[in-house]
Symmetry: C2
């Protein structure tokens, strides 16, 4: 289950993709448009920033803009960064796997398969894809 952290980060990035082509966009504006607490976004954005996703300017008329074009960011990129990974079970959080049962675990390959299915899906969708809704008029994002 992805938390508000990841979901808000995605909406923040989408907001920048839609509104921040030239000027820097202050967090205040994003918070208002998206209906999310600015204080909470302030806490989420350093993760995006440290990942090199953003350009920032401080002070008057400062704010944020995307470092690259919207088609260069996948949903998978953003969620992995802000959620701290997308492992479906805790065993798969570290690699190599620490669990002493790993060698004989009958369910492990199934979980790995699930992880692959999730990552493949999310890596196939960019911010630009989400904006160009016509790419999938019936809401069908299957790969």
């Amino acid at each position: 289950m992805v938390s508000t952290r990841g979901r808000y980060a995605l909406r923040l990035m989408l907001d920048l993709a839609e509104h921040g082509s030239e000027d820097f966009v202050p967090l205040k504006d994003i918070a208002e448009r998206q209906g999310i607490s600015k204080k909470y976004l302030e806490q989420i954005i350093p993760t995006l920033n440290r990942a090199g996703f953003l350009q920032t300017n401080r002070g008057f008329q400062g704010g944020y803009k995307l470092a690259k074009n919207p088609d260069k960011y996948t949903v998978g990129d953003i969620l992995r960064e802000t959620e701290g990974g997308l492992a479906p079970i805790s065993c798969l959080e570290q690699s190599p796997i620490q669990c002493p049962r790993a060698a004989e675990c009958i369910t492990l390959p199934m979980w790995k398969g699930l992880q692959d299915v999730i990552n493949n899906y999310l890596n196939g969708i960019t911010l630009q894809d989400l904006i160009d809704k016509n790419k999938a008029p019936n809401g069908d994002y299957y790969i």
Copy 2:
């Protein structure tokens, strides 16, 4: 992220599939074989029971057995029951969706697609499939 509840439930069901063809299997045995606290399994098993997955007998030589053959239970069935659903975000937990933003939400179809991808994958794997590891010799469970 699926919790120990769902993972232990799956291992419990697999243990029954492997060891409980004729006799009733007591929880004590499952707990020992799987290295899981019996007390914790006692708390998880009523969910499986209420879902009609099990046959039970109390008292001496009592225990549990599967109500149907292992190929009749998918991983999706078991996880949805014990985890209380497999929605990737809280918005998708109820249907119809309650979120007032749903109509204009640009990310919602993407999340629905993720939910479908997850469910399709997990609905395609039965307990029997997990036991017959040779079905996927390289651990490749893709559909």
